[in-house]
Point group: C2
Chain length 402, copies 2
């Protein structure tokens, strides 16, 4: 009986920081054996990121629970040989260096494929492995700006705004895991390994469900529009007594909102009786709803009235409120992680839920090089003396204070 979905699959993971580690973390959560390869002396630089406690980074722990840490100097011939031997033993290789770096380290697709034709290799980068931008250094927000996403956030006449979370990196990691899963499916059906080229830019650009086609077909380039949508009305944020409230109605919910506001006649008003007409009178519609919200004594009452009328609505929650919300706790959308150095803290839950396998499995993060001996012993048959010699020669490295 399989304990988890990916039991038996081995992943050699050369990723760092966020997009790459998200892809391999999802696989670790599904039960794959993920061997994270780190370089001395620091390893994944996210080990230095906040929040730190007892020498341990919560950022690192969140993205790397369930992975073994192998810390090896890839610039030595012995280090490279050891990695090449491991490549022969695994199903998946993932890296998120800048394009070209993996090849220079001897772990580019050509080398990996020659060593093991069954390997699925996934490269994750800001702009992709080819094209005029590919050589530029990039992070989440760099690709976000190029993808036309940043420009679509903020007041119409004001500066664009940055979302203060890793929307691009995390979702690019999900795109990568998705591609890896389908490539493994292909292999399981008799196919060979293959190479996957996943980028932040492609993943961000993918999210324009309407903007690109709108420009292309009308010649009008959509622009940012504050906190009310430019093509659906009402769809936006209203100022409550304690917080902002999101209220949305599509065609079928608009009459319910009018009735909930005690102004049922508005639903048939020719100025407001279709989304197109409401968009044409958006300022009036927004003012009408804001005036109603202003007239209700509390936000809870606004939400309660709208929920009873089946009008989609939401409080704009703070991080604190998200973490402590009963739904998030009950569903495991937020989960407690128990780390040996950080103690108990909360991270987002596993977003993929499978009826046949456990959700939010308990997994630990490794200190730098914690698994050198066990990985090389189990996969390559190295004995203790050989591992000690490699460690003494600086080819293997570990740091229990991480």
């Amino acid at each position: 009986m399989q304990k988890n979905l990916l039991q038996g699959f081995k992943v050699l993971d050369f990723t760092h920081v966020l997009a790459g580690p998200t892809a391999t973390r999802l696989m670790a959560e599904m039960g794959a054996e993920v061997i994270k390869v780190e370089f001395p002396p620091v390893g994944d630089i996210s080990r230095l990121l906040p929040v730190q406690k007892n020498g341990r980074s919560a950022y690192y722990v969140q993205q790397n629970r369930g992975k073994r840490s192998l810390c090896v100097n890839l610039k030595t011939p012995e280090g490279k040989a050891l990695i090449h031997d491991l490549i022969k033993e695994v199903d998946v290789v993932v890296e998120n260096f800048s394009p070209g770096v993996a090849a220079r380290l001897g772990i580019g697709w050509d080398a990996v494929h020659a060593l093991n034709p069954r390997v699925v290799m996934c490269s994750i980068s800001a702009f992709g492995q080819t094209g005029p931008l590919s050589a530029l250094p990039g992070f989440d927000y760099i690709a976000q700006a190029y993808a036309g996403v940043t420009g679509m956030i903020g007041e119409a006449e004001g500066a664009p705004m940055l979302p203060m979370l890793g929307l691009g990196d995390v979702n690019t990691g999900v795109h990568a895991a998705c591609a890896i899963g389908f490539a493994l499916l292909h292999r399981e059906r008799g196919g060979q390994g293959q190479y996957l080229d996943i980028s932040l830019l492609d993943a961000y650009a993918h999210c324009h469900e309407m903007n690109v086609a709108m420009y292309s077909l009308t010649g009008n380039s959509p622009t940012r529009a504050g906190n009310h949508h430019y093509a659906v009305c009402p769809l936006g944020l209203f100022k409550g007594k304690q917080r902002y409230l999101c209220i949305i109605t599509l065609e079928n919910q608009w009459p319910a909102l009018c009735e909930a506001m005690g102004q049922a006649a508005l639903a048939k008003d020719p100025r407001y009786n279709s989304n197109a007409n409401r968009c044409a009178h958006a300022d009036e519609v927004i003012a009408l709803i804001q005036a109603w919200v202003d007239s209700i004594p509390s936000d809870d009452e606004v939400l309660s009235i709208l929920e009873n009328a089946h009008v989609p609505c939401a409080p704009v929650l703070s991080i604190r409120e998200l973490v402590e919300h009963p739904h998030m706790q009950l569903r495991g959308t937020m989960r407690a992680v128990d780390d040996e150095k950080l103690g108990n803290f909360t991270t987002p839950g596993m977003p993929l839920r499978f009826s046949e396998f456990p959700h939010n499995v308990s997994l630990q993060a490794s200190h730098l090089g914690a698994d050198n001996a066990s990985v090389l012993g189990e996969l390559l048959g190295y004995d203790a003396a050989r591992i000690a010699a490699l460690q003494a020669a600086g080819i293997l490295f570990s740091n229990p204070d991480t």
Copy 2:
């Protein structure tokens, strides 16, 4: 020889609008046979969304290329029987109704699983299938507000801002496709079908790479911070002559930025010599960089200087600039779609790239019910007379003007 990755897989697709159709569109792009089930008289309501031309919605076409359209009245016994027969023939069922609706329509997991134990079924919803919020109606921005995402976008002292694109829906669709791929892999290895519960809320909450742990470990709830990051400096938007520019340096790039600005000494200034120190003097760091940007005659020159110094930077592109950018065209990050009614227009490209299969395959969208006869003929052996009778009885429906 397989023409595409998912050749031979059949998907029965009960999804509408965006998150669900994204999941099945990705599978169609990978070669799966996707049968989109729509209900008379309108079908997927996104057929009514803009941009419209010749009675056709570009929104619908973008999310539904490569799918066959079967339009059937599921509230008739014959319609339901026909769908139940199809469930026996497919590998995957996907739906994104509000929780409970699929069961009431006779296509809940219990019914589907009883009909075909090998089916992988994926439900996509705003809040998930269980928990106190699950019964509430929800869209992208509703889950975004609950997930603490909306609250992290905008000026610290101002209102939260809405990103004007479907970040949540599209990425939730990718999460769903990812889960489906791994569940099919499990089945291919000898496992049975299973049920996947994917939600916008989980997918959005998943993106807090740092905020949740930071609140949990420090007791301080992070807040939105405009267009400069609260924990990395410099990471933000600067005002150029023609546009905003994103500039980011981590520890290893800061000296290069100082040198590029002609102020190499800043790199060793004790106020600015670490990210923590720069964050403590963020206003000064931002002002220094802005003053330098102001001193350069053009944005192109700013970008050119920074690119030559290997400092991550980007112009904040408009939708028009995104669509027309050479990199996007060359890479297929933007692609031309040729639709019989809309003509030629641009959509985002397929974000998953497989070395062994073609990228951005040419696919057409179907008008409502276009494939009634071929689907029922091929999968269930219905002859023309039987299909004509069902059509005459209003159990099947089609509309070539869509």
